[in-house]
Symmetry: D2
């Protein structure tokens, strides 16, 4: 019997899709659940999978790889989508796709199936990853194929076939991993609605945070987070610690109407507590250690990087080339940043680096050997020469009167 | 007697420079004080000027022009320098330069003098403005010329000449206008020092803000702020209102080690309460009303725009051309944004526009006429085709095994 | 009976599509032939249309509009796709789409049909134009629908139905208008094959051009071509004149393997004789009249503009915004450029402008009032300060030894 | 006695500067002549140096390093300044600066002296290189210091001191190396003047080239030129061969009014025969082997790279980071390009690569497995969705009538 590898979550969709795959294609279903830090949901998968008629279940713990190979490059790039979104769902998809392809190849499967809808970005991210890594394998996206058009119809499909479904009442569509938790749908669909205070799961609303600030110091080595409050932590432990600190203080909530790749806008509310701390700290350290032209060019690269990650174009030469660019810029991004977390704020409260290009002596008033104020006149005269030449031309040509 | 036009603040520098100009060049000093919203400092200027030996004093109220012709174009562009600085000092300088040139031409002055130091950006901004508007006029920058090297030496210079100086004890170097207040120097010179709570003058520290959030609704017409809580306000009144609301709630404090144009880094702490509200609101409205490719390209333009404003390249064809670009993008940036101000946070709490490109029907799950999920397959297949072609090439060429 | 508007060329495709539309949908066919300068092909359309069973034929002469509203904006932008392609086919498509929509609305047609294949860019350009201008109208693209898969099958389809087809033996797929002629297919499909000398129709191969150079002077007003050899010409006449001069001298042949929007590469050979002259002349004039920062930023804008035109995203806010940017930059792009056309070369042989920012006095060796060589030291010291600061930091931090 | 290292050419300037340095500073002069392929000028340096009173002369052959470490990175980046200039002088300067610093450090010199004028770019390039590599060493730029203002005054200075100067009559200011030869000054100062046929030294004018084309095949390995007509050549030999072939056929002449970094425009005529062939070949190979998004982004990077090289910002983190970016893009830029050199033209006449992403099967008409024409509909529907959504919004909001 032919096999299909299914991206498996254990939810309603997974169960229904398993049944539908067998019914429609006659394939054996190899379920793959990838642990990218989504929390407690993974435990009862074995039983769920068995009940759903899954032939074989893989549970893969990729949390460290997710952080080091997907999150950190994006953090180092400073990539933010449309000024707000820290790409939490976006960069998890290519990693999952990679694992699906690996297992499909190992198992000799002919197809890979995912449960992403036909309206979202995730279908693109999954499928681009698969195409880049194995261009031959068949891709099955049930939501674009079958006639099930809603949660209710899916439940009905399961009921008719006797598939047991755990009772869940999800009002929002959510995606969670070690980096973030996203919320879509329900009352959020109207952008005029403010997110409700009860929405937040990784942390609290700013109003519910403690009245006293929490200070945290994050240390970086070449752009990569290494320590929290002076203690070296593994990537996973570091993320967990910062998520806790950030979440407790209401830090890292973003609310955005964003442009999906597939041509429409969508409204999302994101919780990224630890990630928000890391972005703020990393930026402050770059402000100390990057020179002007590097920083300014990197700001442009960050826009492109964000677009590529959002669009799922991860396994591509351009992303690799941008990574190579970023890595060179990070050589001296080593140092420590202190942040004050307070009722939703993540406030810079100090930064230092052995490689700081800021020097009090240069910037301040007094005499010094490096900077000669007399140089400024020549600088301004030549920097402003094009404006002066233009003004003279405009007089000479009659465009303006002398 | 020849005349020089002096950018006049009434402070120590102004008085000393007036004396020095007369002594050194034998010029009559025409003092020009430009009101860009710096607050109470303008009142006693008449007397100060008389005492300092100023020949003639102009006090020019340019607050509305400052907002409409300098602040709003920059806001519409979404320009932020190095991710944090809202350019409050930067765009005031060309406006002042313009007025200095106008009065110099009217008065037949041979020179313009400013009191900016030889280490900062402001000398560049003043002088570029002057060069662009009148390439013939002499520019005098005393701090790059004379031997006075400190505040103390300036006081001594004044004492010797019997110039009366009001006793001031400024610990920080500050610049204030209707848009912002900047702080530099003193303990801020070490980036590891957190700004002290007492520093803030336009508002309070987040911890000192009320325990209850304040909601505010800002209305825009074609990218330009028009109403606050539904009430049409003049530009000046609108800024004042938002500054008050923002300041009370601890909103709009930015702390940055930035790259000066003249080649060194400097640390600044900025208060921009109303401006921060306007940037947040404007961004949210663009998220509703701009399509993806316009928004993404405009993000790049914003980087360039910020760099130009920061560098003082205001009166230039490129800035005008970028403005023309921005203005077309703003045609539909009309609508209302609700923000929650709370202890330093400025949180999006709702946005709406008649011209919104977001449509619940498109983005959500159900059936609809505009978006056909089946289209996604074709889209992904072609969008991902280059990745697939590359994978096939790599197999064919032996770069990867089949 | 319902009506469909058909983009009509009178060729095999047009005839077969006419029959197929009537047979498949039962629609009356309104044929629209747009004259964008494709040459002699338009004359016998009346008879062909009648024979093909077309209900009504429109022949629209849009040559001037094509030049002024599509070609000139692109020329002013300096847009070149992938370094070589001057976009001749690309910008003709939106204009045709616009006319198709106009006639469809006037005629009350329910659908628009075009004969572009499912592998090319033109389908995208046509359909994006239609969607932007009328989102309700049905689009029919027969080549993506029917079972005809080749020229032979199309001929067979015609034969069976008694449709008379003029005998044509086209080895290459071509597209021609007043700006260019493109060649694809046949031996060109292998990029290792050099285009054959007989290929060229708008001009000759360089080897076949005269042994004596031809000089031509092109005058521009604000970036728009206005005169040839001092004589004011209408846009159409000007293009025709330059095409003739360029073609005779073997100028304007480009050979490129380009990236199509739909994900694959294709090889094209383009003849753009007059356009190549205009691009060279326009560039030279910009070199005289644009300052450095404007020119350099415009080079980036040109890349985006080219991508958008190539992709058919013409009727969009971003293109309009880029046009507004470009128009401001062109205010002083007025002057005259002399070119030497010689056996394939289009060599700059002189340029002048009343608004030239080049001034012999500034650039040359001697004494002058505008440029003071002593300023260079200060300029270099500050421009190079970041590099010096970095070097000092590297010593201080131990990254390099003193 | 203190020592100064002098960038030495053996020309009038070198001799006069040597005398002036000793007279003015009392320094011993260590002359350094760097061979970057400037041709025959190096032979009589020993004697000239001795006569000029040079204390010690270094002649350093850096031709291979120049090609591999300066020319090739720039070629791989595809960097062209202002659309025309291939940066021949620009990238030689940092290499010379590097050698000057090395020898200064070895010799314990306190200063480095160069003979570049105060109006040009070269002073910046030299001095930025020096500052980056050794921030402590004094820089002496005689042309910005002394009172000699012309060639005549320099000759007089030499005559008075009995310095023997070889009679030279240079009408143009020239700079030559293995990559190019530049011409400035004299009749070229008026951009309306066409360069005279006798100007060219590395090759002939197009009119003087043979009547028969020459074909040449250039092979690349990962973006680096490796073979000519199938024969592996050393970098120097390869450049020499292509210079000869290009020069004989009148290839590689560029005439441009360019923006100097120091704020004014200058007119230059450049001969870059071999370089022009390499750029054309490299571009063609990238068209085969780079995917669309990589190629398009690299076009933007090329603009920045060119600006940095032109401005002399070579030894900087940003240039290194851009190199890292470029190197990743070049992994598959391996293959062969055939060019036809004919009377000034350098015409693509074939390209092939094992890693070509172009595939006849995909691009052509017939059936194939990779590309499904039916996908195009979905692609266009989603790619065009934003335009459609906008059109619908405009109707709904009353901006356009239905």
């Amino acid at each position: 019997m032919k096999k299909v590898v299914l991206a498996y979550s254990g939810g309603l969709d997974s169960s229904v899709i398993t049944a539908w795959l067998k019914e429609t294609y006659g394939y054996e279903v190899i379920a793959v659940a990838v642990n990218v830090g989504q929390g407690e949901e993974l435990d009862p998968l074995e039983e769920k999978a068995r009940k759903s008629g899954v032939y074989k279940l893989y549970i893969e713990d990729l949390r460290e790889e997710f952080i080091t190979d997907y999150i950190y490059p994006t953090l180092k790039a400073g990539a933010v989508y449309e000024g707000k979104y820290l790409l939490g769902t976006s960069f998890a998809r290519p990693l999952i796709a990679k694992k699906l392809v690996e297992i499909a190849e190992k198992e000799g499967a002919v197809a890979i199936c995912h449960g992403a809808t036909g309206k979202g970005n995730d279908q693109v991210r999954f499928e681009l990853g698969i195409k880049a890594l194995n261009p031959h394998i068949q891709i099955i996206a049930p939501w674009r194929i079958w006639n099930i058009k809603s949660r209710e119809e899916a439940l009905e499909y399961a009921r008719v076939r006797g598939i047991e479904i755990a009772a869940v009442s999800k009002s929002y569509s959510m995606d969670r991993n070690i980096w973030h938790l996203s919320h879509e749908g329900s009352d959020l669909e109207d952008p005029w609605n403010e997110p409700q205070r009860e929405l937040f799961l990784l942390g609290v609303a700013p109003e519910d945070a403690p009245d006293k600030p929490t200070y945290v110091e994050v240390g970086f080595e070449q752009g990569i987070p290494a320590t929290v409050d002076g203690v070296q932590l593994s990537p996973y432990k570091l993320m967990e610690t910062l998520n806790q600190l950030g979440g407790q203080n209401g830090v890292g909530i973003a609310d955005i109407v964003e442009n999906r790749l597939v041509g429409m806008k969508a409204r999302g509310v994101y919780e990224t507590p630890g990630g928000t701390i890391l972005y703020a700290a990393h930026q402050a350290l770059e402000h100390l250690t990057l020179d002007s032209i590097t920083l300014h060019y990197k700001e442009q690269v960050a826009l492109k990087y964000a677009e590529m990650v959002y669009n799922g174009v991860w396994f591509s030469p351009l992303r690799q080339a941008l990574d190579a660019f970023v890595d060179v810029t990070q050589r001296n991004v080593t140092g420590t940043v202190r942040l004050k977390l307070y009722k939703g704020n993540c406030i810079l409260a100090g930064s230092k680096s052995l490689y700081s290009l800021y020097d009090e002596e240069f910037a301040t008033f007094g005499r010094d050997g490096v900077y000669n104020q007399k140089d400024a006149e020549g600088f301004i005269n030549l920097f402003g020469l094009p404006l002066k030449v233009r003004a003279l031309m405009e007089e000479k040509s009659g465009l303006r009167k002398k």
